[in-house]
Amino acid sequence: MEEQVENVGRSFVDHYYHLFDTDRASFSTLYQSHSMMTFEGHKVLGVDQISAKLNQLPFDQCRHVISTIDSQPSSSAGGIMVFVSGSLQLSGEEHLLRFSQMFHLVPTPQGSFFVQNDIFRLNYG
């Protein structure tokens, strides 16, 4: 069970940041109407607003490099908490930004997961 949670966490993280770095417009597949995101303290509710926010970030290209992934089951209903830390390279920027992010994943009837909660913070030096 524990390994399964770890595997889901890792697969999700790979998928999420791959989408972010290559096809940000596809993010709508990961969120639903009651999903919540807090991005550097700015709260956003629902898939449409979240997609809009992520698509409007002030850079065209970026690359996430993940350092740590920690996962735990969040409840008996199959939810998973995922805690990520890593670096973010923006094209044209010399220095890497460091960040932490947490996701609360909730299972869908189709057997995958959507993001119910998403909180992102840069880690300043």
Binding site: T38, S75, M81, S85, S100, M102, N117, N123
Partner: protein
């Protein structure tokens, strides 16, 4: 009560307990609680408190920089809280930077306990 205010009050209580009376953290966990501390997984109040009270420092002080919270589901009263800050250890010159997430669940008595707890130091 405003969820942001609840989260902030919980965070202040958690770190003040950690910094002054670490063994009392037992009141904030239950048998199904899980802690991942720098990648090490621990389950249940007793094991969690044993881990936290055996950390290799006597005194410490957490200084919180950011607290973000969200309800963890449309119903049920659970909250996710995401914290970043500095950890000053007595006798250490440089503060350590950390991030931590809590998943809080309501108790019948009207307070919260920590169901999920994940802690990571943020290295430069």
């Amino acid at each position: 009560m405003d969820p942001d205010a609840v989260a902030k009050a919980f965070v202040e209580h958690y770190y003040s307990t950690f910094d002054t009376n670490r063994v009392s953290l037992a009141n904030l966990y239950q048998d199904n609680s899980m802690l991942t501390f720098e990648g090490q997984k621990i389950q249940g109040t007793q094991n969690i408190v044993a881990k936290l009270t055996s950390l290799p420092f006597q005194r410490c002080k957490h200084v919180i920089t950011t607290v973000d919270c969200q309800p963890s589901a449309p119903t049920g009263g659970g909250m996710v809280v995401f914290v970043s800050g500095n950890l000053q250890l007595a006798d250490e010159q440089h503060a350590l930077k950390f991030s931590q997430m809590f998943h809080l669940m309501p108790t019948p008595q009207g307070s919260f306990y920590v169901l999920n707890d994940i802690f990571r130091l943020n290295y430069a």
